[in-house]
C-alpha cells in the first residue's frame, strides 16, 4: 500500500500532537479528581475551567454556559430529551430536519414512542432546509427547533441565523448540532440566537470521548445523566480531565487557524470538485456549491455502488466514505441523499471525500485519477451501465 491518504475527516480527525502533549500530564502526574478539595486536585479544576473558557470564547458565550459531555451524541441526546422533559407543560412538539445526524433523528424517534410529536422538515435539492415549511410547522405546542449547523454527509450549511430569528420570534428554543461546523466555521451564539449547541472533540483534531453542550444561561433543561454534582449539578460523572484539556487546546488552535484553514481548504475543495466534474462523466455533486463546509465534497457516480468504490480506493491507500461512518456498512442508502431527492441507485453510488488542513494538491490529483479508473472499472462490470449503453444513451 502506498502512503495513506486520509480523506475522511468528517468521520474523525487526527488528534493534534500539541493536543496530546497538553493532555499527557493529566494522566500520570496531575491525575486528581477535580471535585476533591486538596491543592493537588484543584489545579485540575482550574485546567477544566480554562478549557471551558477557551471554548466559550470561541462561541462568544459565557464560560459557565459550556457543559462537558462524552460526545456529540450525548450532547444531542441531552439537548433534545432534556428540553422535552423541562418544557412538557408548554407542549410536546419538536421541529427538526430530515437530514439530521442519527444522534438527533433516533433520539426524536425514541421520543415519538414516548408521546412527543416531531415534524421533520424537508430540504431542497442542495440540502438547505425549507424555511417556509419550518415556519408553517410551528404550533402553540412547539417547544424546540433543532437544526444542524452543517450536514455531515453533504456539507450543506444551514441558514442558522434565519432559523434563530424564527425561533426567537416564536419564543421557541433553538438547538443546533454543530458537530461538523464547530472548528470549521465562525459561530457566535448570540448573533445567531442559538440557545443550545452540540459539538464533539474528535471532529476538530481534538480527542475522542469528549464533547460539550452549550446551554444559554437561564435556560431550563433537565439533566440527562444523574449522579454526582459535577458540571454545576447538571451532568454527573467524574470529569474527563485529560480529554477536557485536550478539547480546550484543540479549540484554541482551531480558532487561531480558522481563517487560514478555511481559505486553504475551500480552494482545494473547489479544485477537487471541478476536477471530478470535468474528468468523470455521469457524476453529480451533492450538496450546495458554495454553502458548504470548507472541507466537504460529496459525489454520486451513476451506475456504480459506493462500497465497492470505497474498497477499491482503500486498496489504493485512500480513506474515504459514502455517507457517514456509523451508517456505512448498513444496507440502506443515506437518508440525507434520499432527502435531497436522489433515486436509490444513485444514492448508493456516492462518495464523500473530506479534507484536512494537511491535504495537498498532489493527493487530490492522485485521488481523482484513482476514482476515475475505479469508476470506469466498476461501470464495466455494472448491469445498470450495460443497460444504459444498450439503450443508446451512451455519449460518444
Amino acid at each position: 500500500m502506498e502512503k495513506l491518504i486520509y480523506l475522511d475527516n468528517a468521520a474523525t480527525t487526527k488528534t493534534r500532537p500539541e493536543v496530546v502533549e497538553a493532555m499527557l500530564p493529566y494522566f500520570t502526574e496531575k491525575f486528581g479528581n477535580p471535585s476533591s478539595i486538596y491543592e493537588f486536585a484543584s489545579q485540575n479544576k482550574k485546567a477544566v475551567d480554562e478549557a471551558r473558557g477557551s471554548i466559550a470564547k470561541a462561541l462568544k458565550a459565557e464560560t459557565s454556559d459550556i457543559y462537558f459531555t462524552a460526545s456529540g451524541t450525548e450532547a444531542d441526546n441531552w439537548a433534545i430529551k432534556g428540553a422535552v422533559e423541562a418544557y412538557a407543560a408548554k407542549g410536546n412538539h419538536i421541529i427538526t430536519s430530515k437530514i439530521e445526524h442519527h444522534a438527533i433523528l433516533h433520539t426524536c424517534e425514541y421520543l415519538e414512542k414516548h408521546g412527543a410529536e416531531v415534524t421533520y422538515i424537508d430540504v431542497d435539492e442542495t440540502g438547505v432546509i425549507k424555511l417556509d415549511e419550518l415556519k408553517k410547522a410551528i404550533r402553540p405546542t412547539t417547544i424546540l427547533i433543532s437544526v444542524m449547523f452543517a450536514n455531515n454527509e453533504i456539507g450543506t450549511v444551514q441558514p442558522i441565523k434565519e432559523i434563530g430569528e424564527i425561533a426567537k420570534a416564536n419564543n421557541i428554543l433553538f438547538h443546533t448540532d454543530a458537530v461538523q461546523a464547530f472548528g470549521q466555521l465562525d459561530i457566535d451564539v448570540n448573533e445567531l440566537n442559538i440557545d443550545m449547541l452540540s459539538a464533539s472533540g474528535h471532529k476538530l483534531n481534538g480527542p475522542k470521548g469528549i464533547g460539550f453542550l452549550y446551554i444559554r444561561k437561564g435556560l431550563k433543561l433537565r439533566s440527562f445523566i444523574h449522579g454526582g454534582a459535577q458540571e454545576r449539578h447538571r451532568r454527573a460523572g467524574t470529569e474527563n480531565v485529560p480529554a477536557i484539556v485536550g478539547l480546550g487546546k484543540a479549540v484554541s488552535i482551531a480558532v487561531q487557524t480558522l481563517q487560514e484553514r478555511q481559505e486553504k481548504e475551500i480552494a482545494l475543495r473547489d479544485y477537487l470538485i471541478n476536477k471530478v466534474l470535468k474528468e468523470i462523466s455521469y457524476v453529480r455533486l451533492n450538496g450546495h456549491r458554495t454553502k458548504r463546509l470548507p472541507n466537504n465534497t460529496n459525489f454520486s457516480f451513476q451506475f456504480i455502488e459506493g462500497e465497492s468504490l470505497l474498497i477499491m480506493l482503500d486498496m489504493k491507500g485512500i480513506c474515504a466514505s459514502s455517507g457517514s461512518a456509523c451508517t456505512s456498512g448498513s444496507l440502506d442508502p443515506s437518508h440525507v441523499l434520499l432527502a435531497i431527492g436522489l433515486p436509490h441507485e444513485i444514492a448508493h453510488g456516492s462518495l464523500r471525500l473530506t479534507l484536512s488542513e494537511e491535504t495537498t494538491k498532489d493527493e487530490i490529483d492522485y485521488v481523482v485519477e484513482q476514482v476515475k479508473e475505479i469508476v470506469a472499472k466498476l461501470r464495466s462490470m455494472s448491469p445498470l451501465y450495460e443497460d444504459f449503453v444498450k439503450n443508446g444513451n451512451h455519449e460518444k
Binding site: 455502488e305 462500497e307 465497492s308 442508502p333 448508493h348 462490470m381 448491469p383 450495460e386
Partner: protein, 145 residues
Amino acid sequence: MYSEKVMDHFSNPRNVGEIENASGVGTVGNAKCGDIMRIYLDINESGIIDDVKFKTFGCGAAVATSSMATELVKGKTIQEALNITNKAVMEALDGLPKAKIHCSLLAEEAIHAALWDYATKNNIKIEGLEKPKTDIGEEEEEINY
C-alpha cells in the same frame, strides 16, 4: 471485514462480462437495496454449462459472490448448477459478514433466474427449479432503541 478470498474475488473478479446470444440470462436484485446481479449462461446440447459471465452492481460481497458463483457453475450440468446453494458460495469464499449474507442468496438466485430463462426459452422443465423471485428482500436487523 472481508476474508482474503472475498477480497481476491472482489479485486480480480472472474468471468466478468456478457455473452452474446446466451442460452439464459438472469437478473435479480434491485437498485433500492443496492445490489443487482446479472448472470449469462452458455449451455451446450449435453446440458453442460460451457461458459458463464456476470455483471454486478453492488458491494464488495456482491461482486465476490457473483465471481465465485460463476466459477462454481462453470463446466457443471444444469442439475449440478441448480444444487449450488448460497451456503456453498459462502463457504467457498471462507465466509461473509452477517450483514452480507443476502449477497450470497442473490448469487444463488441469479443462477436460478438464468436457468429459468434458459428453460423458458427452450420450453423445458428443470426438475426442482421454481420461478425465481425478481426481488430479494432484506432481513431487518433488530435494533434496540
